[in-house]
């Protein structure tokens, strides 16, 4: 198995997803199967130099520098979970504080 419990916990942390202890074994097993499955791409001899494939336009079209925001039918206060003094509010940052 290419992926273990430690890997799952590591990516769960990067993705800010709580993973409970009891779902961990099954999740690890499922993710392992998926990773093993997609790893078959390694059989494909692909030119290292090949540029990534792009569907759609091959270059970005730019926007003129004009103030014209898409209007909001409702203000942020209407959809925010917590909003005060015109600001979105979240709990104290804890360990993320001084970033």
């Amino acid at each position: 198995m290419s992926i273990g419990r430690k890997d799952v916990l590591h990516v769960a942390k990067l993705a800010e997803l709580a993973v409970s202890e009891d779902e961990l074994p099954k999740l690890t097993e499922q993710l392992g199967r998926i990773v093993d499955y997609v790893a078959q791409l390694n059989e494909v001899p692909a030119g290292e130099q090949a540029p990534p494939y792009l569907a759609g336009p091959d270059k970005v079209t730019l926007r003129p520098d004009v103030v014209a925001p898409v209007p909001l039918a409702r203000p942020p206060a209407d959809f925010a979970p917590e909003f005060a003094q015109g600001l979105f509010v979240v709990p104290r940052l804890g360990a993320m504080e001084d970033q």
Binding site: L54, V60, L87, F88, L93, A95, M96, D98
Partner: protein
Amino acid sequence: MAWETVIGLEVHVQLLTRSKMFCGCANKFGAPPNTLVCPVCLGLPGALPVPNEQAIRLATQAARALGCTVHTRSIFARKNYFYPDLPKGYQISQFDQPLATGGTIWCESPERGRIGIGVTRLHLEEDAGKSLHDRIPGKTAIDLNRAGTPLVEIVSEPDLRSPAEARAYLTILKQILVYAEVSDCNMEEGSLRVDANISIRRPGDPKLGTKAEVKNMNSFANVERALIVERDRQVALLESGGRVEQVTMLFNAASGTVKPMRSKEESHDYRYFPDPDLPPLVLTQKWIEEQHAALPELPEPKRERFMTRYAITAYDAGVLASERPVADYFEAIVEAGAEAKSAANWVMGEAMSGYNETGRFGVGADRLAKLIGLVKEGVVSLQAAKRVYPELVDRDDDPRAVAERLGLLQVGDAAALGAWVEEVLAANPSEVDRFRGGEAKLMGFFVGQVMKKSGGKADPKAVQPVLVEKLKN
């Protein structure tokens, strides 16, 4: 000191566009919180970014002004991390294919003289919002007005060898960017932000030491202070047999200290990948050259031109060229007929102190040129002209009329001068004796006294013959 300091700087600069980087919201400072927001910069489900052409233009000009190669193809990438003022959970930036690479910034090192500092890269990205930790007790409040503001990140090579060099580099960098009208580089409003990487090593050691990152400096002076403190910390650490850890240090301006960040994040894994919402940014070489051609004359070439064209000193040329309004004012005065050296002296003296206070020049270039002309023609003395000057600020009066009103027109008439000369000689009998005894150098003293007595009106060239005449007796 038996240690060599190695510093590299990462500078984030907000671009002077009307609208944000990827949406049509206004790019401006100081609006009520969360009023300059839209689906895109709020990171709402379904919203998509579209790049601002003017941001690309300004970034291209900045890059060329710093001597970088601007690439005809660059890629926007997503930099993934969670933070409450980062609405999408990723920042749109550029990673392995940035807009520009390989420039040089020339600056004056206090230790090494003129040095060229390498610019590794310049890339485009979007700013995050603002987290306010002191607004609501026990909570963090988020304002997303700033989210999506266009930024360029300018990364230097680790070519700087002292905190003072870092400051010199930043000063020149700011000069260039302000000149090019790419950014206002206002550190207080956060439109220019500096992160520094610093390490020390034994001179001659080809290997770099372990570096610390220093953040949270709100002025160039504080960048220098913070780097001095951090350098000294590292020196003390190594000299006591310890070793430097790779940390991020936060500078506290009030205490003048640095302390490590509380959260010892395991090194970030940003999982950069090309942003699938944004096809490659493709520019033609012709367009890039057009943007370069549209740049104004930059401080360095302007300084050199001033030296050769106006025959002024390197120092004077440097001061005059440091800011575009100053340089333009100087040249307008010369254009209006003033002699360059005098114009330089006036701009760097009287005019500059007003400019530093108010941010503008209170006397039009034409009238200052006239005043300078009056001195040259001997109509007023330099000393008198300096008394005329304040009367011209923010008014329309003609300099000659003001001089006349103030009774400052120069007096060359022998009778009038003779009276002042006699008063001076009568008041300084011992000096008169010494002069007559052969101390010829006292002539300067007498001229000065007469000038003083006349309130600056006496024509110094006419004073001397009168003095010579009277002292003979």
